[in-house]
């Protein structure tokens, strides 16, 4: 296929603006998928994605399209995730495309991620095709949405396509616009091979599968290729395209998008962003890569049964094969035993990983409350990076603690500005700017400690604005703050898994909330159990779990002995699902207790 008949494009949108439905419609109209095989949101292929209605992994699909000019085109659609946690995946998709379809909900208008994703696309030099979606809705205001596109993002929306992916309206226009506006790939087959790895996944049967975009030259089965970052060479076993299932083909030419299988054992060999070249005629240099993403949110994963440690490690390794953004290292907790400290790009990312471990790998685990990464400046001038409160050095050695700061952009109806600002202030936010993008809508920008953001900020914002606010954030580096470590003691013993770092002013309040929550969750034991929160040696909160007073006395004659024993055994089995800390049985929910301590209110 000649490169001038290829179009590579992405679809970008704020979450829920109809991106996946539009993608489904495109596949249908181009007969890429037969109608009877069509399921809703075909591209969201992880079970979890369909359940949550969001896209996490990006998926490329190849479509054949005969344009109105009678020419047959190949359209490669590279789907993108919609959640802020996965912004890095968006930028990878965009790097493999020449154009982007920017979808805006006709009823909701431009939202925070619309802007963020649009700017990412503009940065990459992509052509943008604005689409106003959901015009079938009674509340649709396409003219307002267009004006917002022009005023907020600053792109020409006069040609914006009005569409309803749900009803199939405007789909042909979008396909035509892709052919007309998105430029064909620039590379040529005459040049030595240069292919960008924009994603890679691990398949249990096939090993590593690289998603590639050939920029120059061409790739064939049997060819020997070199990965430029690692210098390792492989023989190409199979190449192919996504329709959307993998279909092998003989050759991938310049500008084409597809996959590569080459007996690659681990994902560490196949860096996303690496350039593949031909071993015999190597390219002069690699293509521009990606910046490596660093996890910012950490939590501990511990197996419920100690003997399942190996199983958890293997599951994490496999998960990492599929999601290289996950970081993990072994960690030992006096309370929970052997486990792993894991790093994620955000809370949703963490949640998804935890659910996938439980669902796909069948691992029972306890997850500790998440924390952010901290930079600790020591008195000797060294800077230490810590991933958990337990790693915090002794107070005497600390000069200052720096925490990650994010800049959040909130789009909110003007009625809710006050509440939104109050929430940001409460979370130690620093005001940056506020402007009216229309008389009814406001853009608020705040700098906020990430630690404050990961404690249900998003949920709070949603409820404070009745779901109308949308937000996006970017990282802004580290900043010193007056932070303290709060220890939680159960039965006089500090439980490392419950320690947390927070601002000194919030220590009492947070300590109280955690202690109160634990008191609710820890069942009565044979003795009184004090639960305390302490900063250093100073106890700031104390509550007691009263000793057990409720018990069952039943008859126990003759045959009852066997039955009674079985009842006791059952009772004991139930307790096994609790973690034993010293002499105290603590249910697993307790470890997540302070994920939602704030939402209890009082």
């Amino acid at each position: 296929m000649e490169t001038r008949r290829i179009r590579n494009f992405s679809i970008i949108a704020h979450v829920d603006h109809g991106k996946s439905t539009l993608a489904d419609r495109l596949l249908e109209v181009t007969h890429t998928v037969e109608d009877r095989k069509m399921r809703q949101q075909l591209l969201d292929h992880l079970e979890l994605e369909r359940e949550r209605g969001i896209t996490i992994k990006l998926v490329p699909v190849r479509m054949n399209y005969r344009g109105r000019d009678g020419v047959d085109y190949i359209l490669n659609l590279i789907d993108t995730p919609g959640h802020v946690d996965f912004t890095y995946e968006v930028s990878r998709s965009l790097a493999a495309s020449e154009g982007a379809v920017l979808v805006v909900d006709a009823a909701q208008g431009v939202e925070a991620q619309t802007v963020a994703n649009a700017y990412l696309a503009v940065d990459q030099g992509l052509e943008i095709i604005p689409v106003i979606n959901k015009i079938d809705l009674p509340s649709a205001q396409p003219e307002v949405a267009k004006r917002e596109l022009e005023e907020v993002i600053g792109i020409d929306a006069s040609e914006a396509i009005l569409a309803s992916a749900k009803e199939g309206r405007g789909i042909d226009e979008i396909l035509e616009a892709i052919v007309a506006i998105v430029p064909p790939p620039a590379g040529t087959e005459a040049e030595p091979l240069q292919a960008l790895i924009f994603d890679s996944v691990y398949d249990n049967y096939r090993g590593v599968i690289c998603y590639i975009r050939v920029v120059n030259g061409s790739m064939r089965t049997g060819q020997t290729v070199t990965f430029m970052a690692t210098g390792l060479s492989y023989q190409v076993e199979e190449i192919g395209v996504f329709r959307p299932q993998m279909v092998p083909i003989e050759e991938l030419g310049a500008g084409e998008v597809g996959y590569l299988i080459a007996n690659i054992k681990t994902l560490t060999e196949a860096h996303v962003g690496d350039t593949v070249t031909e071993t015999r005629h190597p390219a002069a240099g690699p293509l521009p890569g990606y910046r490596k993403v660093k996890p910012v949110v950490f939590c501990g994963f511990y197996p419920i049964e100690r003997e399942d440690y190996t199983q958890l490690r293997e599951a994490l390794e496999k998960l990492q094969l599929n999601d290289s953004a996950i970081f993990f290292e072994p960690e030992t907790s006096t309370a929970l035993g052997f486990g792993f400290r894991c790093g994620f790009l955000g809370l949703l990312h963490m949640d998804v990983a935890k659910e996938r471990l439980q669902r796909e790998f069948d691992v029972d685990l306890v997850a500790t409350a998440p924390n952010v990464v901290y930079h600790v400046l020591l008195t000797d001038g060294e800077v230490e990076e810590i991933h958990s409160p337990a790693e915090l050095p002794e107070i005497t050695r600390i000069e200052e603690i720096r925490e990650p700061i994010i800049r959040i952009t909130v789009f909110v109806p003007s009625d809710f500005v006050g509440k939104s600002m109050q929430l940001c202030q409460d979370r130690r936010g620093t005001f940056v700017s506020m402007d009216y993008i229309t008389p009814e809508r406001v853009r608020l920008v705040y700098d906020l400690p990430l630690a404050e953001f990961i404690i249900d900020f998003h949920d709070r914002l949603k409820s404070a604005t009745r779901g109308y606010a949308s937000l996006d954030y970017e990282q802004r580096g580290f900043q010193a703050a007056d932070l303290v470590k709060v220890d939680v003691l159960i039965n006089e013993e500090p439980v490392d898994a419950f320690s947390f770092i927070c601002h000194r002013d919030a220590a009492f309040y947070r300590g109280q909330a955690v202690v109160r929550k634990l008191k609710e969750l820890i069942p009565r034991q044979l003795f009184e159990v004090p639960i305390q929160a302490a900063v250093g040696k100073r106890v700031i909160v104390r509550q007691n779990v009263k000793p057990l007073r409720k018990d069952v006395l039943a008859k126990c004659y003759g045959g009852d002995i066997t039955r009674k024993r079985k009842l006791l055994e059952k009772q004991k089995e139930g307790k096994k699902r609790m973690k034993q800390i010293g002499r105290v049985s603590v249910p697993q929910e307790a470890f997540l207790a302070f994920l939602d301590v704030d939402s209890d209110g009082d």
């Binding site: 057990l548 007073r549 018990d551 006395l553 039943a554 008859k555 126990c556 006791l568 009772q571």
Partner: protein, 383 residues
Amino acid sequence: MAIEEERLPFFGPSGPPLYLYVHVPFCRSKCPYCAFYSVVPGTGAVEAYLDGLEAEISLRLREGAPFPSLSSVYFGGGTPSLLSPSQWERLFSLLEVFCLRPGAEVTVEANPESLTASHLCLWRERGVTRVSLGVQSLDDEELRILGRSHDSRRARDALGALAASGLSFSADLIFNIPGQTLRRWHRTVREILAFGMDHLSLYELTLEERSAWGRRPPEGMASGYPFYRWSQWYLASRGFFQYEVASFAFNRRWSRHNLAYWNRAPVLGLGPGAWGFLAERRYGNENSLAGYLRKTEEGRLPLAVVEEPDQERDWREAAILALRTAWGISRSLFARRYGPVPLETLLTVIDGLPERFFRKTEDRIALSRRGMAVANAIWERIL
């Protein structure tokens, strides 16, 4: 559990004392909290049951009688008093193959609605020493909730008749009935003591999985703890000795038969749904009357379950059972019967628990009153 062998070894005449349990599986109606096996008897059911019992006894006899003499006999149920005096005559005659030791304890369970003067007269004549009456409560509202087929007046009549009979007698009471208050519980206990029984068994209302309430629990149940702690205090002040978690005896009149269970002594259980313990093996008979009769008619022992000895399980069970009683565990006897290693393991567990739940002497470890109130949690640790 599969039954590999239908015969169970028996003791010779010189063996250790034997205790006999006879299960009478009939009730006038089924109480919603009860999980014991019983049915409302149809025509001819009691006669068929007595035929089965006769067959079971002769099967046992063929295994190498004579039986050792009995230290106690216990007629439990169900409702043994539901059998008519003439049916009782036949039951007693079936048991004539057994000898009683001098001073043996013979107990019959009875319910107020079916207990008559002629029952008492016959029982005393045939050597019954003790009657255990299922009173449960002296509050009509509570009796209605429990679904009992007697009211408080009937219960008082039966208690009066027992007091007049000169037999030793005990009453069963249930606490933590939905809607019950400590005050109402106090009224029942105080009033019942006035009848002069020498034994009381107190049970917390338990929602058994196999009972009607287990499937659909009633509303308004509080914690049973205050009822229990109050009873421990009150009964002690009235001279009752708590010799087991649920049992209180006046003047050392504890139930020797029940102690046999808690000491894991040999018990021969007869009748449908009866359990026995012979040669360190616990066995359970067929639960349904039909299944029981089918096997006995075919000349087979009506066994449904036999638990083979299992050293680990057995010593833990023995410890739990012994801890039910006021005498507790004797370190020396325990070590002799189950070995020194189990004793060590057991002591380690006990030492890890709060002191105030135990009474410890040179040789014995027993639960304190407080310990009895949280006994389940302690046993769970031992298991």
